[in-house]
């Protein structure tokens, strides 16, 4: 009985660590680590933001509030490049995305340093990475309460449009 009890305790602890990480709600964000010598291992804030549902949800809200949508749409891009594909012009790690957001990039990405807090930049970066399915998929909610951007709209039924071109002797092509 006691060994079974111990096993279930261990299982519970494992669950706890998995569950707690995703479910943490820290409205102040994670402070910068004191010791920066371990940079090679990656910033410890990576997981604290992108595997935490609350931070991703905050990032999702800020993505709208800070007008990211205006240029990058809901990941498909527009004035700015798409964010939902695998391509990263300036690097796709959390630190790179945060740097892009805070410092801007020369071809038009404005710098948000001084306009948003560093914590918000991390939240945004986590959300941006989720657009291309980088973090765990069970962390972010399925959809926001906004217009669906996963379904194409086709209210007017599209008919096949016949090209009314007569047969030509030859089509010029360079």
């Amino acid at each position: 009985m006691s060994s079974r009890f111990r096993v279930s305790l261990i299982l519970l602890a494992a669950l706890a660590s998995a569950g707690c990480e995703r479910e943490q709600r820290d409205p102040r964000g994670k402070p910068l680590p004191e010791d920066q010598s371990n940079v090679a291992k990656g910033d410890p804030r990576d997981n604290a933001y992108e595997n935490v549902s609350y931070q991703l949800a905050q990032g999702q809200r800020l993505y709208g509030w800070m007008n990211c949508t205006g240029c990058h749409a809901h990941g498909g891009g527009g004035m700015g490049p798409p964010l939902m594909d695998e391509e990263w012009r300036y690097g796709g790690r959390m630190e790179d995305v945060v740097a892009t957001i805070l410092n801007g990039r020369p071809n038009g990405m404005p710098a948000f340093k001084g306009r948003i807090t560093e914590q918000q930049a991390w939240q945004l970066a986590a959300y941006v990475r989720s657009l291309s399915a980088q973090p765990r998929q069970d962390v972010l909610g399925s959809r926001p309460d906004k217009m669906s951007t996963t379904e194409p709209a086709t209210i007017s039924e599209r008919e096949k449009v016949v090209d009314e071109t007569p047969a030509l002797p030859r089509d010029e092509k360079d």
């Binding site: 709208g64 509030w65 800070m66 007008n67 949508t69 205006g70 240029c71 749409a73 809901h74 990941g75 498909g76 891009g77 527009g78 004035m79 700015g80 490049p81 798409p82 939902m84 594909d85 801007g104 020369p106 071809n107 038009g108 990405m109 404005p110 306009r115 906004k146 217009m147 951007t149 379904e151 194409p152 709209a153 086709t154 209210i155 007017s156 039924e157 599209r158 008919e159 096949k160 449009v161 090209d163 009314e164 071109t165 007569p166 030509l168 002797p169 089509d171 010029e172 092509k173 360079d174």
Partner: protein, 623 residues
């Protein structure tokens, strides 16, 4: 033009009778009939049944192409007739030139003498080609110094709509908000004036208009909460002579005692403030990024103002003067003469920046000096040039967001259910945000009296959300998905008879038409499609006579000119892009239907049908 309606009809009847009498007489039949017929019928057509370009605004064709709209009346009509309906099938490319740029090429080539000038999208290089050589070569290239960050605040691809030649100089605008004059011979910069501030989201994409020694320039950035303006620069020095804003107090808008709008709703003090919530006019848009026409007789410019910001209408209750309307201004002082607002309190991003073709034509039996403009909102407006009165407004595309235009008040009659609302997607709004027709201008042929309108047939779903203004970032407040309108075709090419107020013929195109039209004296119309077909139609019947597939989709402005060898040439840029082609030019992800402000949803097939490019193509008949 003081002929009354009865007078015109009687004159025409008299001439017709006279013609019949001559035809019946043996003498007439044998000797004089052809000559007399020609002499009698031509003026009859011009006077009674047909529109013609405004007197003085469209001088006789010299075979050159000095400004994007061809002339001040904006006809895009070349009188050259060497290429005509019978020989167009032999048209073939004579040379092409790679601009080295892969974004949307909306600019036309200019031809002055034996030199052709090209303007590329950002970085807006100007390339002079020597046409005198058998294989045209580059005479010089001008690369304006400009800020790279400007690319980030260009709403709809980093396009440029062309330069203007005047008095030995080329004038062009750069994306980062400069107006530049260069010496056409050497490519040397003469002056440059910084007009726009990209940190606020201001860019310039329009082609300037030069007249009376003034260079007219307006800003872009209606999706960034900028305040729209048009400025007149001294062509010699680049000094700003006047600057008229599209919102704000009358003194900023250059509204003075000479302002006589036709409709009472446009009269009143400081309407540019009073028709907005407090402070909203400062970030209210009304940019001037489209086409300017000029009537030299009255020294009046006509231009349209862009959409109010943000798109979400709930954030700007009121009529939002002076956005989405047409201004008539004195070119010398900038003082407004009249204004007409086609979409008060715009709901759908229906910028009113489309071309205005200045015509003299019979309206209700009387010749009137009018401007005709196919509006974004789907109505073909005929407006009196002198008074600003709307003489007619007829739908030329499918519209379900409005019931029509009340000609008594000039007001658009909106359909309440189609008004975008916060919290709920409004579906199936037609026409969509780019309107029934976007920037790409129509052409007018005095030979057929028809206006050739390349336009689009898209509807959309809009989910309005509260937009947040942060300087230098988009200020839109709407999620949009566009899709083909009724019929399933996304583009339409319409030949519109402005006198009879209806389409003479119409051609469905699968893809939206984003390229302007060109009409020629050979009774041909040219236009391009986004999958790269360059087409020539019979101007009277709309029959497709010739087409050629180019390496990339066409959104450029086709022109026609007489080369140094005396032959007629037709030239156009390929290079897909712009708002409609952003999915290719910007390599957008088709999985997100809201991409490019919702245009991606309608263009998901485009990447499979064309690729990015940027190349000038010149066609001619075989020697």
């Amino acid at each position: 033009m003081k002929e009354g309606p009865r007078g015109a009809r009687e004159t025409a009847m008299f001439r017709a009778k006279l013609g019949k009498m001559f035809m019946r007489s043996a003498l007439g039949q044998r000797l004089f009939a052809p000559i007399v017929l020609f002499a009698l019928l031509l003026p009859a057509q011009l006077d009674a049944q047909r529109a013609r370009p405004a007197a003085g605004a469209a001088p006789a064709d010299d075979g050159q192409w000095t400004m994007p709209s061809k002339d001040f009346a904006s006809t895009r009509y070349s009188a050259l007739g060497q290429i005509n309906r019978s020989n167009v099938r032999q048209l073939r490319p004579v040379f092409n030139f790679d601009t080295g740029n892969r974004r949307g090429h909306e600019a036309p080539p200019l031809v002055i003498g034996s030199t052709m000038y090209l303007v590329t999208p950002y970085p807006n290089s100007v390339i002079a080609l020597d046409l005198a050589k058998p294989r045209p070569t580059v005479k010089w290239t001008f690369r304006p110094a400009q800020k790279r960050a400007a690319q980030g605040v260009a709403c709809c691809d980093v396009v440029n709509r062309g330069a203007v030649y005047s008095g030995g100089r080329l004038f062009l605008n750069t994306l980062d908000g400069q107006a530049i004059a260069i010496d056409a011979a050497s490519g040397r910069q003469i002056w440059r004036t910084q007009l726009g501030n990209i940190n606020k989201g201001e860019t310039i994409t329009m082609a300037p208009l030069v007249a009376e020694g003034r260079v007219l320039v307006g800003n872009s950035g209606g999706e960034f909460g900028v305040r729209g303006w048009i400025a007149a620069l001294d062509a010699g020095s680049g000094r700003v002579v006047w600057k008229a804003y599209s919102t704000g107090p009358d003194k900023d808008v250059l509204i003075g005692p000479g302002f006589r709008p036709f409709y009472p709703s446009d009269r009143g003090k400081d309407l540019g403030v009073a028709t907005w919530p407090p402070e909203a006019w400062k970030i209210g848009g009304g940019t001037v990024w489209g086409w300017i026409s000029y009537d030299p007789r009255t020294k009046t410019i006509f231009y349209g103002t862009g959409n109010p910001g943000p798109w979400n209408p709930a954030q700007r209750p009121g009529a939002n003067k002076w956005t989405t309307g047409v201004f008539a201004r004195d070119i010398r002082t900038g003082q407004a003469r009249w204004f007409y607002q086609s979409s008060p309190h715009d709901l759908y991003d229906h910028d009113d920046i489309n071309e205005q073709i200045l015509l003299d034509m019979p309206v209700g039996g009387r010749m009137r000096g009018v401007l005709v403009r196919p509006g974004r909102n789907g109505y073909m407006y005929v407006i009196d040039r002198a008074s600003g009165q709307v003489l007619s407004a007829d739908a030329y595309g499918y519209i379900n967001s409005a019931r029509g235009v009340d000609l008594r008040t000039g007001q658009l009659i909106p359909v309440k259910e189609k008004e975008p609302k916060e919290g709920r997607v409004v579906r199936n709004i037609c026409p969509a945000a780019p309107g029934a027709k976007d920037w790409n201008p129509s052409a007018f042929s005095p030979r057929t009296g028809l206006i050739y309108v390349p336009h689009i047939n898209l509807c959309m779903d809009v989910g309005a959300i509260e937009a947040n203004y942060i300087a230098g970032t988009p200020y839109v407040g709407a999620d949009v998905k566009m899709y083909p309108g009724p019929g399933g075709n996304r583009g339409v090419f319409t030949a519109w008879d402005p006198v009879r107020r209806r389409a003479t013929w119409e051609l469905k195109e699968d893809l939206p038409l984003w390229s302007p039209a060109l009409a020629t004296g050979g009774d041909l119309v040219f236009y391009g499609t986004m999958d790269g077909w360059f087409k020539a139609l019979d101007a009277t019947t709309g029959k497709l006579l010739w087409r050629a597939k180019l390496d990339s989709g066409i959104i450029g402005q086709p022109i026609s000119y007489r080369g140094p060898d005396g032959r007629q040439y037709v030239a156009v840029h390929s290079g897909v892009g712009g708002w409609a082609g952003a999915i290719v030019a910007g390599a957008l992800d088709p999985r997100d239907p809201s991409g490019a402000l919702g245009f991606v949803n309608a263009m998901r097939d485009l990447p499979g049908r064309t690729k990015a490019g940027g190349r000038l193509f010149v066609f001619a008949l075989p020697r």
